[in-house]
């Protein structure tokens, strides 16, 4: 993985940036997100997708890139939630949408319809791995959130003691 090479052009990056933002905002509309944070949830989804996409381009593997993408979504969501003072879910739910393994899930169905059970099983395994790695990445970001909370609390205590 280290010493990897990433090759892409500007056009690719632009399209991925813009489309992941738009897709997240689109999903945010369907789950009825509060108006004031709709833009930021888009940014959150965008960040997660870009991390995933760059890692996937660098051939870091399906599991790692998904986990890191979800981790990035979690981080950005926690920071935004602290800043905007609202639940983390507001950012993490739309933010994870671009990472959902939609294409392999569809291919499972397609293979099953065509009667290629072995390949369908392989694909199903892939969907399972991606889902679990997203959850794991997100779990790691919760760890970060706990640490941040503890740190902030200590900071507040220290300020009180100074006074």
């Amino acid at each position: 993985m280290l010493g990897m090479q990433v090759s892409f052009n500007f056009w690719d990056v632009l399209i991925n940036l813009v489309f992941s933002y738009i897709a997240t905002v689109g999903f945010a509309l369907t789950v009825n997100i509060p108006h004031r944070v709709i833009h930021w949830s888009g940014i959150c989804g965008c960040a997660g997708w870009m991390v995933y996409w760059l890692l996937a381009r660098a051939e870091a593997g399906r599991m790692l890139s998904n986990a890191f993408g979800a981790f990035a979504v979690g981080l950005v969501a926690v920071v935004l939630a602290k800043w905007k003072k609202c639940p983390v879910t507001l950012f993490s739910v739309p933010g994870l949408v671009p990472l959902v393994p939609g294409a392999p899930a569809y291919m499972v169905v397609r293979r099953l319809i065509d009667g290629e059970y072995l390949e369908a099983q392989q694909m199903m395994m892939r969907v399972a791995i991606v889902t679990v790695s997203i959850a794991l990445g997100f779990l790691l970001s919760t760890l970060f959130q706990e640490t941040l909370n503890k740190y902030l609390r200590r900071l507040k205590l220290r300020e009180k003691l100074k006074k």
Partner: protein, 237 residues
């Protein structure tokens, strides 16, 4: 009250905090996706236990945010208990929401853009088609949910409709690709999120709600796959 698709531990935490701020000594909350128990003990003689079932479940983040906001205000003693209750009932009845057409458009752009992202090929033929079909499927799903009580039926029929339209389009426009269109269009209804949420509940130790949600996600996926499968099988794409 908190049917808006929040995590279980957050529901329990919020309830506990409200109760503690209302001056109750011992609080026990047990929340499940299908209902929640609250037991309050004011330290004297009687314990009050209440049970409430949750029938309607849909992800509604505005609701989550508002309830969170109110409990925060209550904790800061800016509003009292009666005001809190009044506000909660009001939010429950009229949650401020986007107009429905905007949600449908959101579903449309979601499926169009996600198709491009997932496939990593820029096929501009399928782009608008996927958007239109995704939007129509979302609309169909929402419309059917209002008219039927059977779970997963709405998803099944919406998926059938999407499959049908996608195949019709592929007959009319030979350059398009049914698989690509459907990957994008189905993303509006795919329960990937419910699945991730379920895993998160499991990690937080909410076994019941995790398993229930996972079951829900799997059933939804089966309904979607079945719907599309029936159509592809019938019309042969």
């Amino acid at each position: 009250m908190l049917a808006g698709g929040s995590e279980m531990y957050r529901v329990e935490d919020t309830m506990r905090r409200i109760a503690v701020n209302a001056g109750i000594k011992e609080v026990n909350v047990f929340a499940m996706p299908t209902g929640l128990f609250v037991s309050l003990d004011d330290g004297e003689c009687s314990t009050v236990t209440e049970l409430e079932t949750v029938k309607k479940r849909a992800i509604n983040l505005e609701l989550v945010d508002q309830v969170n906001e109110f409990s925060r205000e209550f904790a800061d003693k800016r509003i009292d208990l009666e005001e809190l209750e009044e506000k909660l009932t009001e939010v429950e009845e009229h949650t401020p929401s986007f107009p429905f057409w905007l949600q449908v458009i959101g579903a449309g752009i979601l499926s169009a853009t996600l198709m491009v992202l997932f496939l990593d090929v820029y096929d501009w033929v399928d782009f608008p088609v996927a958007g239109l079909i995704g939007a129509s499927g979302y609309w169909m799903d929402a419309w059917l949910k209002r008219h039927t009580k059977v779970r997963f039926l709405a998803e099944l029929i919406a998926a059938m409709e999407m499959g049908l339209v996608a195949i019709l389009v592929s007959w009319l426009v030979p350059a398009s690709n049914v698989n690509n269109i459907l990957i994008g269009a189905l993303m509006t209804l795919v329960p990937g999120l419910a699945m991730t949420n379920a895993l998160r509940d499991l990690f937080m130790g909410d076994w019941v709600s995790g398993i229930v949600r996972m079951c829900e996600a799997v059933m939804t996926a089966i309904a979607l796959g079945g719907g599309v499968g029936i159509m592809i099988r019938f019309l042969g794409a």
